[in-house]
Amino acid sequence: MIANHSISDTRFVFPSLEQFLDVLLLEEYNTRVVVLGVMALGAAAGIIGTFLLLRKRALTADALSHATLPGIAVAFMVAVAVGGDGKSMLGLLLGAFVFGCIGVLLILAIRHTTRLKDDAAIGIVLSVLFGLGLCLLKIATEMPGGSAAGLQGFIFGKAASMVASDAWTMVAVATVIFLVTVILRKEFTVLCFDEKFSTSQGWPVVKLDIVLMGMVAVVTVIALQSVGLVLAVAMLIIPAASARYWAKNITSMLILSAIIGSASGWLGATVSALVPRMPTGPVIVLICGFLFVVSFIFGRNNGVVISQWRRLQLQRRVGMQHILRAMWEVCEDKTEKTFRIESIVLLRSWKLAGVRSLLKRAQRKKYATHLQHGEWIVTEAGFAKAKRVVRNHRLWEVYLITYADIAPSHVDRDADMIEHILGKDLVDKLEQLLDSGQPLSSPHPIGDKA
């Protein structure tokens, strides 16, 4: 580890290559322990966090982790009072687990027996139990026969104090959670997506929920030591929320989330070992946050870039279809399929420049050709394409009038919005519907089948 030079030193000391390799290759025992522990934690939290996120319980877990503080203090006091070692890890974690569960039960009780909603119930439990924990911790420091110093480490985490047995506990917990998830994957998934269905299937929904929240409590408790209770919830939800931007299905989301969790753990532990005054817990959370931002922007599902790109594509397609329909409407009754750009502009509330660029794109696609000075001609291909677009539009109009009971004067606008997303199957279906239906009244001629 790199020694701090002085407490008022704010310089950034870049680690030497040797130090860098030391940490990366896990040469040092301490680093090895911490990296192993936080990676196991990241994987466990990533797996169980996936269900937590899908079940929309993110902030319940936050309250749970804050509620563990009085548990830690009480466990310490009880242990010291009976003459034991106050800081036995198992005892402390047991206390934390019990109070975490009490916190969740209190939230449920408040929600079901008062008119307060989830948010207030969570806020009350979180802040009051945390306050209680601070009070008890203060008292615990005065207990004779035991030094409570270091218990505060659970609040913001103190990964450096981790020993090998702690790391192995984390590995064991991660393994158990992995196994339970493998066994109960289907049940948990249905519970998250369709609670009513699982009830109707006769599954023990309440018991499953208890198992799920119990595992959340276990993960929170083992996260206390490394990331601390204030930030424990980050380990649970951020990897899962990031994985959702990439995953195809729940299984890949679980795997990805576990990978993102343990990668954040590893990177966080590495950075904090290399750079002075970098607390491990917050650094891990920051790296989780960084991975989330990357996923949020570039992710395959709902990522900012991809959704903007899709929107742009849709806009372009809609624009092209509009111009095709406009060309059709001006040329419909003419034998010469030529038109002037001004006549198109009159058809819709659009600007000359917009129409011009749309026409240029139509020319690139060989739907129309520019003759001279704003005089255009529709090509054969353009005419056929336009015919299909117009047919769609008018089919929709008919459909809306016949089946959706929309006033004929409104039909054009509504059909305008919906026609662009019409697939070929739907068009066939519409035609069938209309063929079998009553005599049709369309405001425009429907046009032949293309």
Partner: protein
């Protein structure tokens, strides 16, 4: 206990802080945005740290600006991740505030380790030492009192200025929009108030316990009253009371067990929690115990009527008095509940008892007649309007007979026999 001027000032500062928090807190609770308060109070930390890094001093104005800016960024990011990234709002908050809080912790460790903002202050605040932090010409008023007092005044001012707008947006956002109130403006206004209040409270109770002051008193008030004005007043009162009670118990309760005392900020949160539990249990309108008691009274009332009805029907078949065991099996209730009800009925003179056998008295007969009449008229009515099988008919009528008022009965009309062919007794 040794109460000094310092303790008085601690209570005053705590009370000012609690009152200041209660004002935005009521709106947060009513708009179901309590956890937005939680998120923003966490992110005050990076705001303060950044302000310190930029200015290099503990200038309160810079810290206020820094915290408010980061608070607004928090509110904005939560909304953006929720709407653009399609993340549920709770998770979105969890992501934003944990990351920003972690950022604040790292900044603190990196750059301001050597100044007097330490992790302990983030957790507990420094209300115990607030008295020692005085401006030279502050007439002996601690800085904490001035800061929190100013914040309280500012919050009260904005609350009164936008009283109607806050009220309407809190209860009915759709109506507010139709009234021309800009919901976005009100939202960010509330977020600004929350962030500013949280930064003022930071040095008093720390970054996390301030949530207790935002949420707990208004939530307590909410289960005590339905009126908005009363709710605000009550939240202020409860907050102030919790602050006083909190400090008092922080310096007294631990001494009963031989300890010297505990952290005041934590104790204030716990005191708020205790007041909440009291309201939760004993609120006249919604208290848990009050409702339990009411349910029990209703249950025994229904049981008493069932006993009367059963005795009447036995008499109708001219079988005379009834033994307790028969009542047990017929009504399917536990012995304790039944014997209590029987004792009460005897006391009120509705039934008389002769060696474990019961029989209706004159007045009991009148009550039972009207009950059975109601029951059978209901059966007639239900059979006519909502045809169902006989058993179901009986079940529904059994439930309705207990809530039938005289006026309802007069609307049920009259009949000679019920659908099962039993005569409907006349009202006399």
């Amino acid at each position: 206990m040794n109460w000094t001027e310092i303790d008085t000032w601690i209570v005053i500062i705590g009370a000012l802080c609690a009152a200041g928090c209660a004002i935005p807190g009521t709106i947060l609770v009513l708009r179901r945005m309590s956890l937005m308060g939680d998120a923003i109070s966490h992110t005050v930390l990076p705001g303060i740290a950044i302000a310190f890094l930029v200015t290099g001093s503990r200038d309160p104005i810079a810290m206020l600006i820094g915290a408010v800016v980061v608070g607004l960024i928090t509110a904005f990011l939560v909304q953006a991740i929720q709407s653009i990234g399609k993340v549920e709002v709770g998770a979105s908050m969890g992501i934003v505030f944990t990351v920003l809080f972690a950022f604040g912790l790292v900044l603190m460790r990196q750059a301001i380790d050597h100044v007097d903002i330490d992790p302990d202050c983030v957790l507990n605040g420094a209300i115990e030492f607030a008295w020692f932090d005085q401006n030279p010409d502050g007439w002996g008023i601690p800085r904490g009192a001035i800061v929190n007092g100013t914040m309280l005044l500012a919050n009260a001012f904005f609350m009164l200025l936008f009283y109607k707008e806050f009220k309407i947006t809190a209860f009915d956002p759709a109506l507010a929009k139709s009234q021309g109130i800009n919901p976005g403006f009100m939202h960010y206004m509330l977020m600004t108030m929350t962030a500013a209040t949280a930064v003022a409270a930071f040095e008093t109770v720390g970054s996390i316990l301030v949530v207790a002051m935002f949420i707990v008193p208004p939530a307590t008030a909410y289960i005590l009253t339905d009126r908005y004005g009363v709710l605000v007043g009550l939240s202020l009162g409860l907050g102030v009371f919790a602050a006083g009670l909190g400090h008092l118990s922080a310096i007294t309760v631990p001494t009963w067990f031989g300890f010297s005392g505990t952290t005041t900020a934590g104790a204030m949160a716990v005191a708020g929690g205790v007041l909440f539990v009291l309201a939760w249990m004993f609120s006249p309108s919604q208290g848990l115990l009050v409702r339990l008691l009411h349910n029990r009274r209703t249950r025994s009332h229904i049981l008493a009527e069932d006993v009367l009805g059963f005795l009447w029907r036995v008499e109708e078949r001219s079988q005379g008095s009834v033994h307790t065991n028969e009542l047990h099996t017929a009504l399917g209730v536990s012995g304790g509940a039944l014997s209590k009800v029987l004792r009460r009925l005897v006391k009120h003179g509705a039934i008389s008892r002769e060696a474990s056998h019961y029989i209706l008295t004159k007045s009991g007969q009148a009550r039972a007649t009207s009950l059975v009449r109601a029951h059978r008229l209901w059966e007639v009515y239900l059979d006519k309007n909502f045809p169902q099988d006989g058993h179901q008919l009986h079940q529904s009528a059994s439930r309705l007979e207990h809530v039938t008022t005289e006026e309802m009965q007069s609307h049920l009309g009259d009949a000679d026999t019920d659908p099962h062919g039993m005569p409907v007794p006349s009202d006399e």
